[in-house]
């Protein structure tokens, strides 16, 4: 076969065409995979963005307060729940359970679930787990979840979520005078791509 540059007649042979085809096929494949690379970059950016959104959301929810309400405890006594932020209410609920004075009527959890559900419904699946830890021992666990998820410990909740999962964990001191701390974990999973 004559090479193209030596082709006196300036005409491509079938063999030259096959070489030409192979070169362009390799170039096309490289370009095709470059598109995938861009998508991977985009996924990475989206993951970073979602991690940030998770942290922002967690901070705002924990900082927000729930209007004061009156509840009736097990003994029929009226309890004035203070106008506290969500984080303090969760700690307080764990304290009440630990002291054995928690009642179903003291529905701290429901108020918080409703508040967060209203905020995130349709866009995110969410869950919040809290564990009262004293002397390295997990004493009491509680979880708040959106309406589509069953309550449970962290691993049970994570098993129920199909989409991407973003978490944020932090520790909070127990009520003053009590030993130990509360380990909290906020879980967020976008139902559809939020943002752009």
């Amino acid at each position: 076969m004559m090479k193209l540059n030596r082709d006196e007649c300036g005409q491509l042979s079938l063999y030259d065409a096959l070489i030409y085809f192979t070169i362009l096929l390799v170039a096309s494949t490289a370009l095709f995979f470059y598109s995938f690379e861009m998508e991977r970059d985009e996924d990475f950016t989206r993951t970073e963005e979602m991690s940030k959104i998770t942290e922002e959301t967690r901070l705002s929810i924990m900082r927000s307060t729930v209007p004061e309400t009156t509840y009736v405890d097990k003994n029929g006594d009226e309890i004035q729940r203070e106008n506290n932020n969500v984080e303090s209410l969760i700690v307080e609920k764990l304290y009440l359970i630990d002291k054995g004075i928690e009642s179903d009527n003291i529905s701290y959890g429901e108020d918080i679930e409703r508040l967060v559900d209203d905020l995130l419904r349709g866009r995110y699946e969410w869950a919040l787990t809290a564990v009262y830890v004293r002397e390295e021992e997990s004493l009491i666990r509680m979880s708040l979840t959106d309406e589509n998820l069953e309550s449970g410990d962290q691993s049970e909740i994570l098993e129920q979520i199909d989409g991407d999962i973003y978490t944020s964990s932090w520790d909070v001191d127990m009520i003053k005078g009590e030993r130990g701390h509360v380990r909290m974990n906020f879980i967020l999973s976008p139902v559809w791509q939020v943002g752009l």
């Binding site: 079938l14 096929l25 370009l31 950016t45 900082r63 106008n83 943002g195 752009l196």
Partner: protein, 159 residues
Amino acid sequence: MRTLGDDEKGIAGFFEDLPTLLIVLVATTLFLSTMLNTVMTYRDYKETQYIREDLNQFIEEIRNWNYLVLEERGQFAGDRVSSLDADRMKKEFNTTALGYNYRVFIEDRSDYPRQFDKTIHTEEIPDEVEIYSRSSFVTVVDERGNEHLCEMVVSIWAI
């Protein structure tokens, strides 16, 4: 008919012309379409990336804006949110030079009777323009110290 082995001078015979032409056309078409697709994907990717960076940075700037922030990032003073208007925002965030306009919408999602809903329009949104939006959650503190959980939606569009 001349065979491929007989071709000593690179001259294609009549029956060789058609498959040669076909292969060249298929290869060229395949390459050009892949290249076009990659160029378009790259252009969209870059455009989206730039506008997304602008949007994220803009949201971050609002969350950190001294005028609104009470103590921490994303914790706004209620009276400042109430008095916020387009002129005040435009004075602080003049994004026209950066090539985009914006709209900020704060919706109070708490159960408190007093609500801090606010919409700031810097410019009317033109028809058939692509709008990029993102939600960010903030709290607004009222005069009694209650922290209202609010959703702040920021939308931007290229000028």
